[in-house]
Symmetry: C2
């Protein structure tokens, strides 16, 4: 299977996993369920589900466990977009090429859609076909990445920074929380789904070791070991590079792509007077930074051999995407 076939397969199974985990629009309250499905299904780049499935290959995770983790993370991501688009926040009317929820339905529904999608993400996790200890670890990853020290906190800093001349350190900190935390959680949760993973990726707890099988030049399988500390460190470095690259490229696309390609309003950062990597570094230097981060992501995966092939290709996709 080549990379394009693999991404198509993951996107199809993610769509099915989300569909199966969202209440039917025939169940009361119908308008709420209809809106939850409207905003979650049928669109999106699904970067986080792709990262979940790619990271699961590092540790031999089952596709079914990865589906649950991927659906949960994507629901958190979608809820954040719904709330972010509301008039009290970014006040955007277009998302993924469709009217945003508060435009298509109403503000109260948008508020409740976001709230219910966050709960639904944790419902999805609670049903993941993994041992209880792994479920507890997944819960912790997702909750921490979503909360005030992760995504929601990043949103708060972002809001407070409109019209403020953030320096590069502050800008990076904001993005590490706002988008980086959930991208990092996607990689970590994917890896944690596998039986070869330690029960925690936190330093100190990472005493176990995982098995890794590589095809070598002679064609024979060589079984070797990547210890848990190496796994955690590699994931950390990869996530940091890809998370930041994602944002830098977002900022580049905001000035170079049109709204139809983006599926959302282009040129919005400049209009809103938001600090971006392009406004801070200029377009050429922002592009150079994205390429540098792409290389760093590749370097981080070196210890994992062929098992990390999809993660490497995803780093390329993040940097080279058109929308």
């Amino acid at each position: 299977m080549n990379f394009n076939e693999w991404t198509r397969a993951v996107l199809a199974r993610t769509e099915a996993a989300l569909d199966a985990r969202l209440p039917s629009a025939e169940i009361e309250p119908r308008r709420l369920h209809d809106a939850m499905r409207y905003t979650t299904l049928g669109g999106g780049k699904r970067v986080r589900p792709l990262l979940v499935h790619a990271a699961g290959l590092l540790t031999g995770a089952s596709p079914q466990a990865l589906d649950a983790a991927a659906a949960a993370i994507e629901m958190i991501h979608v809820y954040s977009l719904v709330h972010d688009d509301m008039p009290a926040m970014d006040d955007d009317s277009m998302r993924r090429g469709k009217p945003t929820v508060h435009v298509q339905y109403d503000e109260a529904t948008a508020l409740l859609v976001g709230d219910a999608l966050q709960s639904q993400a944790f419902i999805a996790l609670s049903e993941a076909p993994v041992a209880a200890a792994r479920k507890a670890a997944l819960l912790r990853e997702l909750a921490l990445a979503s909360g005030s020290l992760g995504m929601a906190g990043g949103q708060a800093i972002d809001l407070a920074s409109v019209g403020v001349a953030l320096d590069r350190v502050s800008l990076e900190k904001m993005h590490r929380m706002k988008t980086g935390a959930l991208l990092r959680a996607a990689v970590r949760m994917g890896a944690l789904c596998g039986d070869d993973a330690p029960e925690s990726l936190d330093a100190g707890a990472a005493a176990a070791s995982i098995g890794k099988t590589d095809g070598d030049a002679g064609g024979a399988a060589v079984a070797d070991q990547v210890d848990a500390r190496t796994l955690a460190a590699g994931i950390e470095r990869y996530s940091a590079a890809v998370g930041l690259a994602f944002q830098v490229v977002d900022d580049i696309l905001d000035v170079t792509a049109d709204s139809a390609t983006l599926g959302k309003t282009a040129g919005k950062d400049e209009k809103d007077n938001k600090p971006t990597y392009v406004s801070l570094l200029g377009l050429d230097e922002a592009r150079a930074l994205a390429r540098q981060l792409q290389a760093d992501a590749h370097a981080a995966l070196a210890p994992f051999g062929e098992r990390a092939e999809r993660l490497a290709q995803l780093a390329d996709l993040v940097v080279e995407r058109a929308n």
Copy 2:
């Protein structure tokens, strides 16, 4: 310890448990953390934490485990109030005797406070000092009670029912979701925290049995058994009665108490043309219903003997409260 001393002790440890589980207002983003603390600490009746601790007495749960569950449920409750008070929903300016979050801070902050409190609830659960299997069961209870088939779904039905002549069946269904689901989860989660509880309270899974020690008339301890099915059924009946009683009394207080006593705007249901038990049944019949539900809650606790004393007293508190 009499009931008043017990409630004071639970309220004090709940305040401490919440304080310890909310990020400091000295940590960035400070405004968000400040608002999370503003709305969560120092007020509220803490009905759900009281139910958690009382239910934990049924199964010998540790106070520390109950603190985690109580804090998690209260955070979910508080987040729902913050979002419910926003202009897009009930547009209320006063809550627990203080300006609501969107008034004291701003709408975007209120939105993010609610979002982050929901995440924080699941962070708190992830840190509960219980075995992983119990943590997974607690996760499932809280997520289901919060989502579109529980609290958030009840809000959606409530919103859609303004100005609509709901019949009693529809009104009860709405309240069973909007407030009943979380009250029920409080009782179930408290019980699930105990080592004497089965790992699940769902029918079919309830094959284990719990030990119960009663003081009898002769003064000697008689060890007997309440099987898990009896536990689940008793909790179910108690929760349904107390949950509904809570709402009936809320509706009564909305017309009989003043805003200062309530800590929120009185008379709001009628002004908003919302269906209530008082508008449906009249004041006298609503009061009779509350007393009948109180009796039903007591009857539900009969199998549990003295271990259920606090739950019985809480049913009285819910019905006889002044705010």
